[in-house]
Amino acid sequence: MPKPFLTRLVPWAVTLGFFVLWELACWGFRVDRFILPRPSEIAVSIIKHYPAILLNSWQTLYTTLVGFALAVGFGLCLGLLIGALPAVYAGLYPILVGLNSIPKVAVVPVLVIWFGIGTVPAIITAFVISFFPIMVNVATGLATIEPELRDVLRSLGASRLQILWRVGMPSAMPYFFASLKVAVTLAFIGSIVAETVASDRGIGYLMIAASARFDVPLVFAGLLVIALMGVIMYEVFSYIDRRVTFWAIRGNEMIS
């Protein structure tokens, strides 16, 4: 069902309004560009530093997506495993929660010792930060199978593996895809944290380098590019989610 024209217009209008308000506020309150540059100044900076921004954006996008892809693979497998086998869940639970509780910034120096400065620590940080929500959501999805449905399948003589394949996996899919939307934005946080702490490439590095030169508009240009990549990735997975798990959304367009 196509949304009415006005509904589709709203996100664009609000976003545009946000930048206009920002511009006016900076101008009206005479905010120094070293504190908060105006959107127009950021735009000028983006145009000026276009090649560097593009190069570093690719690097960030690359590390983020590789880390994210690893997280999807491992998260899905481990989520299915702990969701299907309570013993595995009980065994791994303390370690997994413990690992997830460690601030990822604290891990980056260790990764640098192991792998050196550059791409690998960023990929790993993106991976570890986005892995957990995917795994938890898949496991939760498996736990939502109705007991009666399980009975129907068991009474037909279905094995645990058959129940997992025919019912468990499909019913976990909405949870899985919902987690992807969140996880991909988390992966950006991971890779950029790593680039900020220890890298010679990527948007995170660009921003650190720019702020060392007090080039605040370029710092904000970096922020804007990150936000834009995040929005695009979120939309991509949101679209896939809607296509694949249409049956879980039903007629309700509020959630999508």
Partner: protein, 268 residues
């Protein structure tokens, strides 16, 4: 009318001998049904009625083999039941259809699991689809075969659920309050649908319900259960001629029988 279930000329198809079932682990077991004995002939339609929480559903778990008996024996088709028997079909109050499958694909699900169908599903797919469509047609759902369950009304979902329970030609059909969540008109429609399906395929049916009119309309024999732990307190044979219709339910004989059942339940 109260009498001990006795096997007549043939050996009964489903037999419970002093069967008990309990939930929970050692020490704090909660007895759901206690010392149940009943014999169900092949092709017989029985109903189990009783107050809520009397372990009616537990009885189905015993027969299907989903839950082992604590004491006593459950025998289906001459074999002691120790694990799930794949010759049964089940339907519940909640239709439990898979929302990502169309109505047709939902009905086909058992054929992808139960042997020998599952082994040759790909090769015989066309034949199985025809079988499923035939079944859907018989409950008036053929035009909805491509729809998803959430696009169907509650009554249609239950019809599809019945089709799914019957597609693999189970010899035992276990129904746990299948029409409990439906409005009165839809429910009465489905009594007729179920009766027709039963006459056509003649599976042995165990229907759990708390609707006494439903039990009297559908069943050959009605067992009345006492409150927890459930015991069989009476066995009642229904001799209304088949096929029964909605008119049957207004005949004085039928009304009296339902009233009698109600008193038996109230007494315990």
């Amino acid at each position: 009318m109260k009498m001990q279930a006795q096997s007549q000329d043939s050996t009964p198809f489903v037999q419970l001998r002093n069967a008990s079932l309990a939930y929970g682990g050692e020490g704090q077991q909660l007895l759901a049904v206690d010392d149940i004995s009943m014999s169900i002939e092949q092709g017989e339609f029985i109903a189990i009625v009783g107050p809520s929480g009397c372990g009616k559903s537990s009885l189905l778990k015993l027969v299907s083999g989903l839950h082992p008996a604590l004491k006593g024996e459950v025998i289906v088709d001459g074999k002691a039941v120790t694990s799930p028997i794949s010759i049964c079909g089940m339907a519940f109050q909640n239709s439990t259809l898979l929302p990502w499958r169309t109505t047709l694909d939902n009905v086909l699900l058992p054929l992808q699991i139960v042997q020998p169908f599952a082994g040759n599903f790909r090769r015989h797919r066309r034949e199985y689809v025809e079988k499923a469509r035939h079944l859907l047609a018989s409950v008036g759902l053929l035009e909805f075969e491509k729809k998803y369950p959430w696009e169907l009304s509650g009554g249609m979902q239950q019809r599809a659920s019945l089709c799914r329970a019957l597609i693999h030609d189970p010899r035992v059909l276990l129904l746990d309050e299948p029409f409990g969540a439906l409005d009165a008109f839809t429910r009465e429609d489905l009594w007729e649908v179920l009766q027709t399906l039963w006459v056509e395929k003649r599976p042995t049916v165990v229907l759990v319900t708390h609707d006494l009119r439903e039990a009297a309309y559908l069943a050959d024999t009605i067992y009345v259960c006492s409150p927890r732990p459930g015991k069989i307190v009476s066995r009642n044979e229904m001799h209304f001629p088949r096929p029964r219709s909605l008119e049957t339910t207004f005949e004085p004989d039928f009304v009296d029988t339902v009233q009698l059942l109600r008193e038996k339940i109230a007494r315990h």
